[in-house]
Symmetry: C2
Subunit: 407 residues, 2 copies
């Protein structure tokens, strides 16, 4: 006879609630940064893996291969050129660190910058993973209003002025300027220039998150903030999760040495996964540009499919702006719909969407949902949106008409 | 004209010193858990990568493939069987989580257990990465003396008794029972039974780190503590870094759900690298046992080479016990040698070894060095030890005789 030990008795105070067992993905899965599985470039990755393992596989016996703690040098060198071509950045391989996804990048940067009580300015509608991360570091979050062109510079200036008047120097402006999450906007060049002016005037750092920046349908985008930064006050992150495959977990940080040397001092993981780094370094030079064009065409087609399904099933009762890129659509639901409740009942019906309350601090956040469209097959998008309309009608009486049927 | 921004002005207080630029590995590199590059099973990994990518590569489009946050299910299923065969554990795949190396496993477990001031008992000579990790969590560390059979149970009992008398319930006993780092000892069965009795008597958890446990020359080892744990008080970690390749960054945690559900709640990285998990799941079933036997024979041969070099160059002035497994030798240097100074001067001569002061809390720690022998080629081991003897003689006058020459 024995007593079962309960680890709760030794767990520290203040932990999040224990997790639930993973129960599989719902049939209509419109959440998460998952990508189009049909677009993973499997054959080219196979060929790259085979070549690079044959040539360099033995180096897996060394932590970080032979490149040191910033990660596989050939991949950093390719990135240096890519950041120049795509984002206008002059960033040598020595100022790049490879990370386990851009989430590790974000965690490392926050760990360097943020002590409890430190202030961060962020877009008021934001990536849902940002809010708990900043809460865990006990940061003071100042939300800045967004509009159809991203962060509003008048609101940013007001906030910086007010903070300065109170003697507060914020640690950074955290921004997703290119394909903002969840609104999908691209910050225009004049706002980028203004943001950098304000960062200089108030002497704060800029934390630029470009995790979606390659997914722009037109292929045209303004230069990165890190390309408009003669002072070296921008720390810039990106990822291959959205362009190649999220499960690879390869992201990166581009930062001047005064920041990189600090980030290195808090990275204690003996390096991020090197097999992916090797395979990507082999795959990317010959394939990235063409793959990205095909990926963007494919994603825009899925987005158009989603929009057609929304129009058919919700008509004019919902509002959205077709984004210029990305993998998600930010949708304002009909009057009278509470999206926390909608998300809950939709979840019971096998439809997962993100409620606005987890992705925004704006006053009207419980009117919004985020719908991720990259992963579900097109017929699942069509069916899922129709079912969402049924669920929404049953719970809230709207929409009244769906697919030309009264509900 | 512009001023360069200094991120030090926004970095939080209390950070470690900024890192130095990576300058490459020294010619005689006897530090780090790097493995024998010539033993990375490149061809079998190539074949596994090709097969599994062809069959399942598209699933890289999903975070965590389709297996949820504990990681790739086929690898967890193989591990479940492996832990039974090698360590006597009954651990279903549902109680296993894949991590980014065993370091992430360690960090997650410490994050669940340790608030500032919490008490942890550890072997007094220990993995060098443990001390800063426990310091960052502001834990109270109680070192327990070790001998030629690992942690001393009389010392453990004394410590637990003393803590209980002071009203302190430690959070856990952290132990590396099988191929202890740095001493290389294997805790015998009777001590394992006694440790579990004491853990039960004082109602504390046991954190078992088996990262080196597969590297036993004889192939024979006692069961894991997690196999002697009817209460479910052991959280167990391991890795493929030592058996396959460290740069893969694949480790794992085996833990009952009362612990696993807590660990999941603090793992915010959207999953560990999945390509390695897929490739390992494909490679291991057909190859692991034979590869491990070959790896152990190879490592023991390198160890014998190191020992021959030590005997030739240091004679009886150094003391060590040939370990039954692992990748390091723990060596007591001659009288009068301060290993902090030795390590510094050896480093200038291109020879890297670990000073005892970073790997032990024992009183005589500055007499010891740790020499990792898995990565350097055999001739580099021979040359490096001869050079170390020269450096040691130049600095301390000992050894007096090296390779039959008076120094």
């Amino acid at each position: 006879m024995h007593m079962t030990f309960d680890f709760s008795s030794v767990a520290r105070a203040g932990l999040p609630a224990p997790a639930q067992r993973f129960g599989g993905h719902p049939p209509y899965n419109f959440v998460g940064g998952n990508n189009a599985e049909e677009m993973v470039p499997v054959d080219a990755l196979r060929a790259a893996a085979d070549r690079v393992l044959a040539r360099e596989g033995a180096s897996l016996g060394m932590y970080n291969l032979h490149s040191g703690p910033q990660g596989h040098l050939p991949l950093r060198e390719w990135l240096s050129g890519k950041l120049k071509r795509y984002a206008g950045m002059d960033c040598p391989a020595d100022d790049i660190m490879l990370t386990s996804g851009s989430l590790q990048a974000m965690d490392l940067i926050n760990e360097v910058l943020l002590a409890p009580g430190d202030t961060v300015l962020i877009e008021a509608a934001n990536y849902g993973g940002v809010f708990p991360r900043l809460a865990r570091r006990q940061a003071t979050v100042v939300p800045i209003a967004v509009d159809g062109e991203g962060m509003r510079m008048d609101a940013l200036e007001d906030a910086l002025k007010r903070l300065a008047a109170n003697g507060v120097r914020p640690k950074c402006i955290y921004t997703i300027p290119t394909v903002q999450n969840p609104t999908g906007t691209i910050l225009p060049l004049d706002r980028r220039e203004r943001m950098m002016e304000l960062a200089r005037e108030y002497d704060t750092a800029v934390f630029e998150d470009e995790c979606y920046a390659d997914l722009v349908w037109s292929g045209e985008r303004p230069p990165a903030l890190a390309a408009m930064d003669p002072d070296g006050r921008v720390v810039h992150i990106g990822t291959f999760s959205k362009t190649i495959a999220p499960a690879l977990r390869v992201g990166y940080i581009a930062a001047p040495w005064s920041m990189m040397s600090r980030i290195l001092s808090v990275k204690h993981d003996a390096g991020s996964g090197a097999l992916e780094q090797m395979v990507l370094a082999e795959y990317l030079p010959d394939h990235f540009d063409a793959h990205l064009m095909a990926m963007n065409a494919h994603l825009e087609d899925k987005l158009d499919n989603l929009i057609a399904a929304l129009d058919e099933n919700f008509g004019t009762s919902v509002h959205y702006t077709k984004p210029p890129g990305g993998i998600f659509l930010w949708v304002r639901m009909p009057d009278g719909v509470d999206t926390d409740r909608l998300t809950a009942v939709a979840g019971q019906a096998g439809i997962a969407v993100n409620p606005g309350s987890e992705w925004s601090l704006e006053d009207d956040r419980t009117r919004w949902i985020r719908i991720c469209f990259a992963n579900p097959p097109k017929d699942a998008i069509t069916e899922g949106v129709a079912k969402l309309a049924e669920v929404c009608h049953a719970e809230f009486g709207v929409p009244e008409v769906s697919a030309n049927r009264r509900l």
